[in-house]
């Protein structure tokens, strides 16, 4: 059965199931939770691992290398932390030490930015490690286990890094199958170092100085071993599929087998692309389309990717890079693909265009893929293309020009002729089907919205639907307005990881959010949508006024969640809101969800369950019956002393309990 895990927790499970023996770490957003989870397991006694609180990432990387000479070692990092590790990273790859890194990909400043892109992974691409890109929590968990198997293969013996996009990957909660430890033990036997550092009978020296002759010969060997990782990754991915039912390869080809137009990319942003490919695939008057989701970035499977493109007869490849190659001709992925097809296919190579997008947490949305397939179509037809990367969402430098005035004049002088011939084709922009229900929670930081949304996700998965919860993260303080988004779609079928950002249900944990000038909380709510507000004072009439014209069909519900919490003596309103959410979103009925809540709600369990039931019962579409005295939860000393650590202990789900129960 699937357990609800965030990407970070899933990676931690990967390390746990791999029986990692040493885990030095220095936490950095967005991969902190992975290290926290491991540290918590170690302190609970659930995991026998030596954890070291390093004084910097540089030390953590040095420690993992020292440990990796004798035992299985791992760590997690991101962004600048990874950049700080790169200095010692080559000692791991050059020293042939197969340790593991989990990387929550994040931008590298300046300007400082905590959100996702691949800049950090691109910065480490020349440090000789195996780089695997994963697209969701499940792939991250499987990726860490497979990473050790690949890295420790005697033909390879090179460190590996598993990459997952920050926040939309590392902080997204979804159902993850946790393999049985005994199955993983059979798949991944214990690590035996070929040259243990402390074998008394065979003393060795690591990191000796070598002069030019042995140095270059050593580097030749290192390159040969890294190259072997391509073949080994395929073998390991296949065997993983035979044992666990989820096969992995070097890349995923999603869409038409004979796709003329291909969009290539790394990692999590493929979610939005899959929706577009399914929509455009097999449409009248459109050439075949496919998404090339590359899993193994280093060593780059140049020959295999070129063969796949040649076999499909692809005419144009648009490569999306979520990072830059400053001063380079193309960004890293585009550069690798362009050289690969040139070397392997020569004059039969498809044309390659480069697009830069998704930087610093920019979302790569469905319409961006429509744009990129349109661009691929144009260049397949022989229209001229820019000999430098295109950019997504830069108004002064668009891919297609609708209004010449908006374009930067310098750029127009340079690329005007190309722009004039690049035409937007409406057939690529037909409305996408809405296959999912989307719930957005607006709350104030500290009200427990994420906790309740994660619980809702777990209950939904239990009832057979697929759910994904992505909280928004930023520099908010306690009390700031935040959003938590949940995506629901029917069980089976496709895995959808992309929000179309029209909300079926909008939940407001605090009615004052309606009046925040910075937040147009009701924008994006569907005309047939539902609005649920925690309020003891607002009338339906007043709320209708707030909604404005064109939203006459919106169903409005209110629930006095603060009153319920006060009555029960609870500190948070989130459980009452959770009950009310089940009332307004009938596709996941409360009676089916209750067995999950009975096992998993935060303590005190009985009160939390009662709050869920009361929230469900007192949720009404009549508005507040009468204006009542404003309810404020008392600000006690206990409330003020509350710290996130306390919250994490009652956080949901409790993975340790999950495994004990199982």
């Amino acid at each position: 059965m699937a357990t609800v895990l965030s990407g970070n927790s899933a990676a931690a499970w990967g390390f746990r199931l791999s029986r990692v023996q040493c885990y030095p770490y220095y936490p950095i957003t967005p991969s902190t939770a992975c290290s926290e989870q491991i540290a918590r397991w170690v302190s609970d006694g659930a995991l026998e691992t030596v954890t070291i609180n390093a004084e910097s990432e540089h030390s953590a990387a040095s420690q993992i290398i020292a440990a990796g000479k004798s035992v299985r070692a791992g760590t997690a990092t991101s962004s600048k932390g990874l950049l700080y590790m790169i200095e010692v990273m080559e000692n791991a790859s050059g020293g042939s030490i197969p340790c593991g890194f989990f990387i929550g990909n994040r931008a590298t400043g300046a300007p400082i930015n905590i959100w996702a892109d691949n800049s950090d992974a691109y910065a480490m691409r020349d440090s000789g490690a195996i780089q695997i890109f994963t697209a969701d929590a499940q792939e991250a968990l499987d990726g860490v286990i497979q990473g050790y198997r690949i890295a420790e293969d005697l033909r390879v013996r090179i460190p590996f890094a598993v990459n997952l996009r920050g926040f939309t990957g590392t902080h997204a909660y979804e159902g993850v199958e946790i393999p049985k430890p005994e199955d993983v033990d059979r798949f991944l036997p214990g690590y035996i170092s070929t040259m243990p550092l402390f074998a008394p009978a065979k003393p060795v020296t690591y990191g000796a100085m070598l002069s030019a002759l042995p140095y270059r010969r050593h580097k030749r060997n290192q390159m040969a071993a890294l190259k072997n990782a391509v073949e080994v990754t395929q073998e390991v991915g296949r065997e993983f599929g035979e044992r666990f039912g989820r096969s992995y390869g070097l890349f995923d080809w999603i869409g038409d087998q004979k796709a003329k137009l291909v969009v290539a990319l790394l990692g999590e942003s493929a979610g939005a692309g899959e929706v577009v490919v399914r929509h455009l695939q097999g449409k009248q008057g459109l050439p075949g389309v496919a998404l090339l989701k590359i899993r193994l970035f280093s060593p780059f499977p140049a020959s295999e990717i070129s063969q796949a493109l040649a076999a499909a007869g692809t005419k144009a490849v648009v490569v999306l890079d979520e990072g830059l190659n400053h001063g380079g001709v193309f960004p890293p992925l585009a550069q690798r693909i362009a050289t690969a097809v040139q070397l392997h296919l020569g004059s039969h190579a498809p044309k390659v265009a480069s697009v830069i997008g998704g930087l610093g947490g920019s979302e790569v949305r469905q319409e961006h893929f429509q744009l990129m397939f349109n661009l691929a179509d144009n260049i397949a037809e022989g229209k001229p293309l820019r000999a430098e990367p295109y950019w997504l969402d830069i108004d002064e430098d668009p891919i297609f020009v609708e209004n010449e005035q908006q374009v930067n004049p310098k750029l127009w002088k340079k690329w005007g002729e190309v722009w004039k011939q690049q035409k937007r084709k409406e057939k690529y922009f037909s409305a996408l089907p809405q296959e999912t229900d989307e719930v957005r929670i607006y709350s104030r930081a500290g009200q427990g919205a994420i906790t309740s949304a994660v619980g809702f996700t777990g209950a939904g998965i239990l009832t057979g639907s697929r759910l994904l919860t992505v909280p928004a993260f930023g520099s908010e303080r306690r009390g700031a307005i935040i959003t938590t988004d949940t995506l629901v779609h029917g069980g089976g079928g496709q895995k959808i990881r992309s929000f179309n950002r029209t909300w079926d249900v909008m939940v407001l944990y605090d009615d004052t959010i309606l009046y925040s000038p910075e937040h147009q909380a009701l924008d994006g709510l569907k005309e047939s949508g539902t609005l649920l507000i925690n309020s003891s004072r607002l009338t339906v009439k007043k709320l209708r006024e707030q909604l404005g014209a064109g939203k006459a069909n919106v169903r409005i519900f209110t629930v006095p969640a603060a009153e319920i919490a006060e009555r029960l003596g609870l500190k948070h309103i989130n459980m009452a809101m959770l009950g009310a959410l089940h009332r307004v979103y009938e596709k996941i009925p409360l009676e089916k969800a209750l067995p999950y809540y009975e096992r998993h709600v935060p303590k005190p369990r009985e009160l939390s369950l009662e709050a869920i039931r009361l929230g469900y019962a007192e949720c009404t579409d009549q508005g507040a019956k009468k204006r009542v005295k404003e309810v404020r939860l008392p600000v006690t000393a206990e409330f003020l002393a509350w710290r996130p650590e306390d919250h994490s202990q009652i956080a949901w789900p409790s993975e340790t309990e999950e495994i004990r129960a199982g």
């Binding site: 004798s70 035992v71 050059g94 020293g95 042939s96 030490i97 293969d153 005697l154 033909r155 390879v156 013996r157 036997p189 035996i192 170092s193 070929t194 040259m195 243990p196 402390f198 074998a199 008394p200 009978a201 065979k202 003393p203 060795v204 020296t205 690591y206 990191g207 000796a208 070598l210 042995p214 140095y215 010969r217 050593h218 030749r220 060997n221 040969a224 071993a225 072997n228």
Partner: protein, 212 residues
Amino acid sequence: MATIEERVLDSKNRHMEFVATGRLVTARPREATGETEDRGSKIEDRAELCAPEILAIDEVAGQVIDGIDSKAILSRMADIGPEARLFLHRPQGKVLRAEVYEDPRICPEINRGAVIENLKEKPKDVSGWRTHDFIIDTKGCLGDECGRCSVMCPENAIHLMGKGKGSFHEIDPLACKGCYICWVECYRTAADCILVDGKTFDAAMRAKHFGE
């Protein structure tokens, strides 16, 4: 006078234990227990401290290895060719892992990870680095009563010869680079002990090294 209770503090130190008497803490040698000795004797038997062997096909064919199917392994190695290797981990002679693989190295004389096996390293003749010859006079050397020069020698070129009375130190002429460290460190200030180019004491040279 009331006696103050003694309390042994919790410590991981294997040699000393710490006793608190009121606010005074004293250290005393820990009473020898069998446990530490056992640990000492077992250390070489621990599986993770036993280096695996990596054998080529002729090395596998040339010996009897208990616990593996040699025939099947040899035929798998023959299929791979001359690059085939057997990874054999057998602490205390018991095979825990036997894995056939193809050696990825292009240049086979360099170890993976450029790791150097210390015992395989042959001493190099560095006598050409020297501009003066260093010899220990057996008459002046205190032998095993001293040994400071052999501890200080950065090249491990000084060895104790003999035992007890009549023992002396000797400088390996192939390993000595002529760095003067033994000469500077000698407890007898090399007065009649270390000869540099046959001289026992040279005021000018000492002044140069000690700033006298």
